[in-house]
């Protein structure tokens, strides 16, 4: 199971009365095995939402919980993929992926099997002995995704994971993530400011207001995806040309534009 729940969550950085109000009254439930994307203007606190689920930040008020248990600290049940990859540069690709399993005291044979399966799935087998810096950004992020997925976590937290990649790599990674997520569904919380990415990947998209961030609306993409049969298209650009896709994308764009405009008043 992996149900993420935000109830009445406020986050203030600094003193409660005078500090920076990052989040205000966040109420959101992410269902088990659901892929939820959060989009919002920069500085709206979307990454803070993810960091609270990860256990890196605590809510000032309200509760963030997974399966009803309030989050106290980081843990391997909530695997994180960071924008800057955050691999251990002194460990090989194999050892980076192995570390989490060793921490869970998984037996050697089991570890080897799971790692070689995930390496294979992510097309990393020939890079097992490389150090992260010997790989391109896209390859490094594959390793980071493998490191998260191999833990078989209930919840996968992805903080703008493709933000640091070039456009072509990004598209390939998005297609691979869809493939991975359909084959092996998890509860995913995916932070991005790229609207197309959110619509292409997510079952639902939550749009946030500018700071202090609130949930402005939540769009159901999955029902449209299924009705229009998006998954029958292999290439992202084919999906992006569909009228249903364009419609959703434009809707989100407008919503974000309003926030941007309000920011300048």
């Amino acid at each position: 199971m992996g149900v993420i729940q935000f109830s009445k969550v406020d986050k203030v950085f600094g003193p409660r009365a005078t500090g920076f109000r990052a989040l205000e009254d966040i109420n959101l439930e992410i269902r088990d095995k659901e892929f939820m994307a959060i989009v919002g203007p920069s500085g709206c606190g979307k990454t803070t939402c993810l960091r609270m689920v990860a256990g890196f930040e605590a809510a000032t008020d309200g509760v963030v919980s997974v399966d009803g248990t309030p989050i106290k600290r980081p843990g391997p049940d909530r695997a994180v993929v960071f924008q800057q990859f955050a691999l251990f540069p002194w460990k090989s690709v194999y050892d980076n992926i192995d570390l989490g399993l060793r921490n869970q005291n998984v037996g050697r044979a089991d570890r080897e099997a799971r790692i070689s399966a995930i390496l294979n799935l992510m097309n990393l087998t020939q890079y097992a002995k490389h150090f992260p810096h010997q790989l391109s950004g896209g390859m490094q992020q594959r390793v980071a995704i493998a490191r998260a997925y191999v833990l078989d976590p209930d919840v996968l937290l992805m903080d703008e994971p493709f933000g640091a990649l070039d456009a072509q790599t990004r598209v390939v990674m998005q297609e691979e993530l869809v493939r991975l997520a359909r084959k092996n569904p998890r509860t995913v919380l995916f932070i991005t400011h790229a609207v197309e990415e959110a619509v292409y990947l997510a079952d639902r998209v939550a749009i946030m207001t500018r700071a202090p961030g609130r949930i402005k609306e939540v769009l159901d993409v999955a029902s449209i995806r299924n009705a229009e049969n998006w998954d029958s298209y292999e290439k992202i650009e084919d999906v992006m040309d569909l009228e249903s896709f364009v419609h959703l994308r434009t809707h989100i764009w407008r919503s974000l534009r309003e926030e941007k405009a309000a920011q300048h008043v």
Partner: protein, 260 residues
Amino acid sequence: MPRRISIGFATIFVVCIIWFLLTTGLGIIPSGRFPSPAETWSALIHVSGRGYGGGDLAMHVYNSLRLVVMGFLFAIATGVPLGLLMGWSRRAEAVINPIFLIIRPIPPLAWIPLAILWLGLGDAAKIMVIWFSAFVPSVINTYAGVRNIDRPVLEAAYMLGMPKFRFVSEVLVPGASPMIFTGLRLSLQASWTTLVAAELVGAFYGLGRVLNVAQQDLYPGMILVGMIAVAILGWGTTRLLGVAEAWALRWNTAALAAKG
């Protein structure tokens, strides 16, 4: 032979020629001020064969090297863990930092009189002074190294649920290791400086002792032999450390190369 190395040998050769010309060849520098190559050679033969200042060259070298290695190892065995602790725990830093602020400005050599007063002219006093001088750069660089570890990398480690000991040995230490090695190199230099100074003040053996006795005997050739011996040992030990560093930081050379 690589070009850089052959150029290096050529430079040393030219310096020796100039040295010869200034002393023996043209007689510009009198031998009472600076020894000629021949005088230096005979001093080397003297100390290697009959011995000088209480022992032969091998004995002096052995003693100096032994003290440096022991002092250095004591210093890093205590300094690196303390630096890790200070880098990791704000509380430990708050407690220890004031002590550091007081002790740091004291030049390590200023501890020599106290060390001799406490421990006499034997090995213990010298190891203590070397320890004091090599300790500080180890601590400070290790501390800075821990503080320099990327925050997301630390967060990735928390996310993976690391047991404490493994967190220290597989994340903190390797993460800080580029700076730790900077600290070790500075510590090693400090060890040699301090050793020679401590032996100059008072010792029964050692290269500092050779220098001290040669000065009293007005024996420039022997002074130069002592200096050259210290230089070679300092270079050799630094070189060994460099080999260890290159091995421990293989991943980092890849990182630096990738950055261009």
